[in-house]
């Protein structure tokens, strides 16, 4: 079998460099690649452009890389849970590009599907449409949107196998599967890593062809943003 396993997170992120564009899976703090984020903080590379639906919170998730000023630009749909973010944005240290969530998901999906551009109705008539091509289909105006790809995609899965196949759990799936397809190099960290052949081929969410390296992550904190109970 083709074996994509690496032993350590530092080996998985070895070639991520200053100025890289990186996609990070996750929605809020759910399904984020905790091990890789911590290792990137330790590694200290700078000037990153990060594509992620959110920007973490103070002290966790991408908030860790914001605290150390490693992020130059965020491409997200919602970034509101983070004081450090706000501070850096207001001071001009941080650049941010906001994209409607469905358009963000579809642009990443297009990047991984070899579709350079598509039309979507989202954002027509708003400032998001500025300088974008408008085209009417069936009487309804749509915007032309281009694919998103990245130098590296970093995703977090529940189970993975040595061939790179991934299964996500619950709503921790979110942006992870599309991002896995849209990175030039895709790094997957998983809670459970099994030999190829142990996962049911019918239950796989991300086929291994999209994954460059896979490793078993440790010590998942899985911090909860809004604990709500009955």
């Amino acid at each position: 079998m083709i074996n994509k396993t690496v032993q350590h997170v530092d080996e998985a992120i070895r070639d991520i460099h200053d100025g890289a564009t990186i996609m990070f899976g996750g929605f809020g703090l759910c399904g984020i690649p905790e091990n890789c984020i911590a290792a990137l903080q330790k590694k200290g590379i700078k000037n990153l452009t990060c594509i992620s639906n959110n920007a973490g919170v103070d002290g966790f998730g991408l908030g860790l890389l914001l605290a150390t000023r490693q992020i130059k630009k965020m491409i997200s749909s919602y970034v509101g849970e983070n004081h450090e973010f706000e501070k850096q944005l207001l001071s001009g240290e941080l650049d941010v590009e906001l994209i409607p969530q469905g358009t963000l998901a579809e642009r990443i999906r297009a990047g991984g599907a070899g579709i350079p551009a598509f039309y979507t109705p989202a954002g027509y008539g708003t400032e998001i449409a500025n300088e974008k091509e408008v085209r009417v289909f069936d009487g309804k105006p749509h915007l032309l949107e281009h694919w998103l790809r990245a130098d590296f995609s970093i995703v977090k899965a529940w189970k993975g196998d040595t061939a790179g196949n991934l299964i996500f759990k619950g709503t921790a799936r979110n942006f992870n599967p599309m991002m896995a397809t849209a990175g030039n190099i895709t790094i997957a960290e998983v809670e459970e890593l099994v030999p190829a052949g142990e996962l049911d081929p019918n239950e796989i969410h991300t086929p291994g062809i999209f994954v460059t390296r896979i490793f078993k992550g440790n010590h998942y904190e899985k911090r909860i943003e809004n604990l709500t109970t009955l």
Binding site: G102, E127, T229
Partner: protein, 220 residues
Amino acid sequence: MALDKYGIAKRIAQEVKDGYYVNLGIGIPTLVANYIPSDIQVMLQSENGLLGMGAFPTKDKVDPDMINAGKQTVTTIDGAALFNSAESFAMIRSGKIDLTILGAMEVSEQGDIANWKIPGKMVKGMGGAMDLVASARNIIVAMQHTSKDGQSKLLKTCSLPLTGLHCVKKVFSDLGVFDILPEGGFKLLERAPGVSVEEIIQATEGKLIVEGIIPEMIIH
């Protein structure tokens, strides 16, 4: 007396019909889930990748891998399905959601909505709101009728940056219920208990249409 946010949520809950797929925005819309009658069957969609959202979990059932679009821990009901964000918005854009309930900062008499950005304030982002308003077939808005300093939020044209154009079908405010007519204008359908038509006229900057006797809303 004007409704509080729970009252608005209760009234909106009556709009939810048996068999509906419903997307609830953050804020008052989320509260609507608490008032959906128990004799009808509804599937709640959460755009982070869940159809069939259930109640909040009991303490021993909390799962950090199971959250809603408001990042709150949730459960699933029987018949739920999980999917990725692209599939989630595929569902939304292709018009499969029967009812979308959103909060708003302003709504215009043309059905335009502004609910994501206030110039001069920190911009948090539009999240999935622009996708929802651009595609949903049936969008209703839960909102305060006026700002804290008494300015109307039901306007001729929105002053804030728009989230979407010509998309809101109905507004449920603390003062009343309004259809937005295809040709423009807020048509008053119901008054909040104890709120007079005159109060609503006073509080509405956009074109208000009042025809005949306006009933007081009934909240179960």
